[in-house]
């Protein structure tokens, strides 16, 4: 949390809390930042982890299961990067294979069956790029999640806690609401990747980060995220974030549970349908 601690603007008013996009990216990747399982531990009571996609295997980059949010049974699906080097390697640094997306979908279907709301926690540099990932249909696995999540008949909230790498993040982010921690980001491509493709110079990642509009605040302005959650200065103060989230999630699910499912799905569809629509009508 070194980086976050050193930000001078952090304690001032909202506008003053703006900072360089790339600093946010660095903060989202900073060592010691809470990972998916930290959120599960602090938000969920009696969490039970369920493994496997029933198709190929169990992806350690994804932790899924059930537990209680206060007194409400919920399904939680979290990408996990790990803290120690050993753990990181085991978790493949939070980059999922297709079986991870299929495990997520399996748990979502169970949530739908038993009427549990779904919390998705996203923290990944992207879906894994590798031979096996392609062989087992990375693209197809993500595509299926996008389709199925759009009509999943139970509330879904996706929380971005760190990196939100492109399609790999979106594969768990077709939700009723997208909430982002202040130092998380969400982008179509990493700033480094963008700089090296467009300007053949990976060191231009700072310009790329600014141009891509990838910070939590940008995403709220662009209508992609509904909430930006303020982060505390010190890592030990992260408890405050957990308490806040517990209340916010609980209230949001209570509210959406009162909505008829058809209306919930209509709103979810519209959330994504409207992005880019205005422009089309203005022809």
């Amino acid at each position: 949390m070194e980086l976050i601690k050193n930000l001078p603007e952090m304690d001032e008013g909202d506008d003053a809390r703006r900072m360089d996009a790339y600093k946010r990216v660095a903060a989202s990747r900073a060592k010691g930042r809470p990972t998916g399982m930290d959120f599960i531990e602090n938000l969920i009571i009696d969490f039970m982890e369920f493994h496997g996609d029933r198709r190929y295997g169990d992806d350690p980059a994804l932790v899924a299961g059930v537990g209680k949010l206060k007194n409400m049974p919920v399904t939680v699906i979290a990408m996990e990067k790990g803290h120690s080097t050993k753990e990181k390697v085991k978790r493949n640094f939070g980059s999922m294979h297709p079986e991870g997306y299929r495990k997520a979908l399996r748990q979502m279907k169970l949530a739908e069956k038993f009427g549990r709301p779904v919390i998705c926690i996203v923290d990944t540099s992207g879906a894994y790029c590798g031979i096996q990932a392609e062989e087992r249909g990375q693209g197809q696995a993500i595509a299926e999640n996008l389709m199925e999540m759009m009509t999943l008949r139970t509330p879904i909230i996706t929380l971005f806690i760190g990196e939100g790498g492109s399609g790999g993040a979106l594969g768990m982010a077709v939700a009723d609401q997208v909430w982002m921690l202040e130092n998380s980001f969400y982008s179509v491509i990493s700033p480094e990747g963008c700089a090296s493709i467009l300007w053949k110079d990976a060191s231009k990642m700072k310009e790329a980060a600014e141009s891509l509009r990838l910070t939590a605040r940008d995403l709220k302005e662009l209508g992609v995220a509904e909430k930006v959650i303020r982060e505390p200065e010190m890592e030990k103060d992260f408890k405050k974030v957990y308490y806040l989230l517990e209340d916010l999630l609980y209230d949001a699910f209570q509210k959406s549970k009162k909505l008829p499912v058809e209306e919930l799905l209509e709103q979810r569809y519209e959330k994504f349908r409207k992005i880019g629509r205005q422009q089309a009508d203005g022809r």
Binding site: A143, T151, G167, V188, L212, L222, F272, Q279, A280
Partner: protein, 293 residues
Amino acid sequence: MLKKGLFRKPKNQLEDYGKTSVREMREQHPEVPDDMFLSCPACKGTMLAEDVNQNCGVCPKCGHHFKIKVRERMEILLDPDSFAELDAEMTSRNLIEFPGYDKKLQSARNVSGEKEGVVCGTAAIGGFPCAVFFMNGDFMMGSMGTVVGEKIARIFEYAAERQLPVIGWTVSGGARMQEGILSLMQMAKTSGAVKRHSDRGLLYVTVLTDPTTGGVTASFAMEGDVILAEPGALIGFAGPRVIEQTIRQKLPEGFQRAEFLLEKGFVDAIVKRQDQREYLRSLLALHSKEVLV
């Protein structure tokens, strides 16, 4: 000691071989029209362009599928005069003020002669009415921005309302990074529209052509009820170069080609371009409501 003249410029054309551009060589032989002959990148054979064109842009010797222009593909596949274009005038703007994007859009319009990266409309194939979309590889590598996403979503909504099947030809480098997160959201938007169309019991067929990658593979390209591919087409989520850089090893021969996906179970069938029309006609006939009664 270096000899004088070791680095001299070549004096005659033979020494200079390989440095003269094809265009210059053609200019030296004005009696051969520029586009009369084609060289096949797969079998290296030289053939009359006319023969390739009459064979749907497929090499008559080895069957290699040349990349073809979007309107040429439409002519090959759709019943004559059956196509009615929808949302033809929709054009992209630089929504997040990404540096250099306006210029890129302008040059893409000039190069491709099209307004955006996909052509949508209604048509008939073998007499069966359907909604169609054809992605355009000449327009910023067929990348998906908000307009491509919007046009795809609209064609599915249009087809759902009118109970039409959708047939789409994909070619894409993925989401268009110059539109940032807004392009990524088109993956969700199009997938939602596909799902609604599907939930009405309507048929959706994709034909994956070379190359189909990234965000398009991870959304509507892989969401067809029936997924077809052209022979040899590169199909994947991550591009081969990105994978090689990530895993630091060479990829096996044929990796991510249509035949590989067929073997792995992600494509229903590989259909040559010359056969696609007849294949789709049969497929449409089989799914048509009249036949079922």
